[in-house]
């Protein structure tokens, strides 16, 4: 299997500001009884360098599928995905991926997990160590370097999992409902940490969630997806300043406006109707 056969296509005028261009993709899945399910339909989406984009939608709308296609875990049924102006074919090793569950390698310590992506970078020993230590500190996990994932709480595993994706500094990080299974407090703390790290590093983040507040609180732009077949219903710009205070996000200027627009779309989707 081709690992990262990324073919360059120059005939489509490249846009230097865009890191991801999803062009008209659809994705069909075959069910066990040989029926085709259309998970995604005619999705087009551009993501610029340094942008924080959230993708929000009801469960089963194909938002995780979209992320997996960008990562190159599987190929779209039609359309194409351009990454840094090259078509994604096979695994896209230039993105980092944070899965729904932490999925830390259970046989490696926190330290080894965070450093996992650095191995293929062939850093000198000292630089590698510094890098790992830096990201472990960033996650507030110092003192737990030698712990195995089985010894960590849910929140700590989550942190380590995010740091594993950040540590080797891919230009884009894809996050698939990373805070989904956490309790409300831990979730807020982690959202806050993620924003602080992102404000320092400004890596591009595509963040999938089903939580409307989370979607607005974190993002520059919110991509709204609707139910099967997954389509993009709208893209909402979030007019809030940064840095943001996650803990009092409701009071921040611009939150209501963006959240109101988002809720309007979903209210329509849920067929609750206007009150």
């Amino acid at each position: 299997m081709a690992e990262t056969a990324v073919q360059s296509r120059t005939e489509n005028q490249p846009d230097e500001n865009l890191v991801i261009r999803v062009e008209n993709i659809s994705k069909l899945f075959r069910t066990p009884d040989e029926q085709a399910i259309r998970a995604l339909q005619d999705i087009s989406l551009n993501v610029a360098y340094g942008e924080f984009v959230t993708v929000v939608g009801p469960s089963g709308c194909g938002k995780s599928t979209l992320l997996k296609l960008i990562a190159g875990f599987s190929a779209p049924s039609s359309g194409r995905i351009m990454y840094q102006n090259e078509e994604v074919r096979g695994l896209n090793t230039k993105v980092g991926y944070v899965p729904q569950e932490s999925k830390l390698f259970p046989w490696l310590t926190v330290e080894e997990n965070v450093g996992f992506g650095l191995d293929s970078k062939r850093y000198p020993r000292q630089k590698r160590q510094d890098q790992v230590r830096y990201f472990i500190n960033l996650a507030g996990l110092s003192g737990f370097e030698k712990y195995y994932p089985a010894q960590l709480s849910g929140g700590m595993s989550k942190r380590a999992s995010i740091m594993r994706a950040l540590a080797y500094e891919p230009p884009v990080i894809l996050m698939d409902e990373p805070f989904g299974p956490l309790d409300a407090q831990t979730r807020m703390v982690l959202q806050d940490e993620l924003l602080k790290i992102w404000e320092q590093k400004r890596q591009t983040i595509v963040f999938v969630t089903h939580d409307l507040v989370e979607a607005v609180a974190l993002a520059d732009r919110v991509v709204v997806m609707t139910h099967r077949p997954g389509k993009i219903k709208d893209v909402i710009k979030v007019p809030m300043n940064r840095p943001r205070n996650i803990f009092e996000i409701h009071r921040q200027e611009g939150f209501d406006e963006a959240y109101g627009r988002l809720w309007n779309i979903f209210r329509h989707e849920l067929k609750i109707g206007a009150r």
Binding site: L91, N92, T93, G96, L138, Q151
Partner: protein, 286 residues
């Protein structure tokens, strides 16, 4: 980063974080009690055996602990027993690692290649359906009555258990681990050593440990059928002339062989799988 974060994480660990017990023996009152009770049960059984023998039950049927002990000592003094033990040990020492290695290797390759698995899986399952000890006479025909026919039987028994466990491990493996690792630029043999082997290692160890007693069974069955040396031969010979104490001596030697191999495997397993949370005994009543 934030102090709050590290504070929170500390709290979580002491609160709900699962602890992996440190290795090393801790002599609590409980362990002492358990050990004493166990020793008492074994001692009581041996005592009962000793008393029963010759009083209520014919000694040639069950011998007695004292007779078995003196036979054991005598056997090692004459060197006779040592020779038999050595022969059986050799058969296992060659057949077992070979069977385990080939079993693990084949299980791994079948797990990697769907094509191979599709071709060979039904064949292997069919072969596994044969009571494998029934093949032992064939090995004698093919490889003679020396150690190599027994090595063959040991190999066969060990191979299947290791193969099936490793193959199961490969099939149960979480695809997401592979995807993540490959996304982070790990591939080829590095992927095998850094991700695949660690991921399947619990299964591999289950295979190794369950196959230990079977490897000894393999050697003994082979020796029962046709041999001039080995513990199996010694047991059969002793039973044939009603030297019951020697039969038990043979059994004891085999028992210690299994225990020794199991302890070694246990040590290695604890070392390799130290990342696993030790499961505690299920508590049913509070």
């Amino acid at each position: 980063m934030s102090k709050q974060a590290s504070h929170e994480s500390q709290g979580v660990v002491s609160g709900e974080g699962k602890e992996i017990p440190r290795s090393g023996v801790r002599f609590s009152q409980r362990t002492v009690g358990v050990t004493l009770l166990r020793a008492g049960i074994i001692g009581g059984f041996l005592l009962f055996w000793q008393i029963a023998s010759g009083r209520w039950i014919e000694p040639f049927l069950i011998s007695s602990p004292s007779r078995i002990f003196s036979s054991l000592v005598a056997g090692f003094q004459t060197g006779d027993l040592l020779l038999h033990t050595w022969v059986t040990f050799q058969e296992i020492a060659i057949g077992f690692p070979l069977g385990a290695l080939v079993g693990i290797g084949v299980g791994y390759w079948f797990g990697r290649s769907r094509f191979l698995a599709e071709i060979f899986e039904p064949i292997i399952i069919a072969l596994n359906g044969i009571p494998r000890t029934a093949l032992a006479p064939l090995f004698i025909v093919w490889l003679g009555i020396g150690i190599w026919s027994k090595v063959g039987v040991v190999f066969l028994l060990t191979f299947f258990l290791n193969f099936f466990n490793t193959y199961t491990g490969m099939r149960q493996m979480d695809q997401e681990f592979i995807d993540l690792a490959r996304l982070m630029g790990v591939r080829g043999w590095k992927l095998s050593f850094k991700v695949i082997f660690p991921a399947i290692s619990p299964y591999v160890f289950t295979g190794i440990r369950t196959s230990i007693p079977f490897s000894v069974i393999g050697a003994i069955v082979g020796e029962f059928i046709a041999a001039t040396e080995g513990i199996g031969f010694f047991i059969r010979l002793s039973a044939g002339i009603f030297r019951t104490a020697d039969v038990f001596v043979g059994i004891i030697v085999l028992m210690f062989m299994v225990i020794l191999m199991d302890r070694i495997a246990d040590l290695v397993e604890k070392r390799v799988l130290r990342w696993q949370v030790q499961t505690e005994h299920v508590q049913i009543q509070g």
